[in-house]
């Protein structure tokens, strides 16, 4: 499996992971380790007075992971730009998962605000990875304003429904000149493998690992699936056909018995 380069970083693993929804930080850290992931997302929140919760940052930093803060909670471009600056200050990285989803039911990203914010954040020196609907036109526009990658969704966040958008993911992958990271909706290793077979450069998985019966084993399964899918893509999948084509030579050796 080849390495993946996004902006100034090169990754051996094409599986990016989230840190949310784990039972505790120890399971999270073990699970991320089992996944082999080298890039993990984080969110931000306003703290309460004397708010001393489970420290999740220390184990991530100790493990040498690259951090990808998100702008979750931002409802428009202005809020996202501010959240990005907070994230840069808090985590000392200019990498950013730009996400603007004002509707809490489906958490679908707002394309107009996302494009506006992306343009501004690129100007401000961020490495912008925008979370977007699987819209090939929007992905091109984001690429043109300088995003380092695009992160189209497979299905709404946390639904585990897989690649509901696969037809459009294929168009995005075909057209993109920046890496394509399929984000959201990937609920099973088979979904991740499929995304990689389609030619996605990476996938981002959180819920499916964190809420599994055994998150550590599930993370390992995702790592295997991503590697298998990518290896298959690089090997070159056989074309699909409508009618059968024999794998065994069709000779007439049984004729005339």
């Amino acid at each position: 499996m080849s390495q993946l380069t996004i902006a100034d970083k090169t990754f051996n693993s094409r599986l990016f992971t989230g840190t949310g929804k784990y039972a505790n930080s120890a399971v999270m850290a073990e699970s991320i380790k089992a996944s082999g992931s080298e890039l993990v997302t984080m969110a931000l929140k306003r703290v309460d007075v004397n708010d001393n919760q489970d420290d999740i940052l220390a184990p991530l930093v100790d493990a040498g992971l690259n951090l990808l803060p998100n702008t979750s909670g931002a409802r428009n471009a202005e809020e996202a730009v501010f959240a990005a600056q907070l994230a840069r200050e808090a985590l000392q990285t200019n990498w950013l998962k730009l996400e603007i989803h004002p509707d809490p039911k489906y958490l679908l990203p707002d394309p107009i605000e996302t494009l506006k914010a992306a343009e501004k954040l690129v100007e401000l020196g961020f490495v912008v990875l925008p979370y977007v609907h699987a819209d090939p036109v929007l992905c091109k526009r984001l690429e043109e304003v300088g995003c380092a990658a695009v992160m189209p969704l497979g299905a709404p966040i946390g639904t585990n429904k897989g690649l509901a958008t696969h037809e459009f993911l294929q168009i995005i992958i075909e057209q993109a000149r920046v890496p394509v990271v399929v984000d959201a909706g990937i609920g099973a290793p088979s979904h991740a493998a499929w995304a990689m077979e389609l030619g996605a450069d990476a996938v981002l998985v959180n819920t499916a690992m964190a809420v599994a019966g055994d998150p550590i084993a599930m993370s390992r399964a995702f790592a295997q699936a991503v590697e298998a899918g990518r290896t298959a893509f690089e090997a070159g999948l056989g074309a699909q056909r409508q009618s059968a084509e024999a794998s065994s030579p069709l000779t007439s050796f049984l004729d005339g018995l």
Binding site: G20, Y22, S25, L44, R46, V61, L86, T207
Partner: protein
């Protein structure tokens, strides 16, 4: 003593004590946080130099788990 707001709660704070001291007193873990005073982000490198005026509003943001 100045009256300031820290994360939306009123607080008396000496005029000669720095933002760094305020943060250290209020947060046991200062890793992964960003501090905003009156709507503007104050970089960690400037916390030692920054004192607080009457009416200043300080908000702290922390990196947490997320997808």
């Amino acid at each position: 003593m100045n009256q300031i707001e820290f994360n939306d709660q009123g607080l008396s704070w000496p005029a000669d004590k720095s933002l760094a001291e305020l943060v250290a007193e209020q947060q046991s873990n200062t890793q992964g946080i960003a501090v905003v005073v009156n709507g503007e982000i104050v970089p960690q490198s400037a916390w030692n130099e920054r004192c607080l005026s009457d009416g200043d509003k300080v908000k702290v943001f922390r990196a947490i788990a997320g997808g």
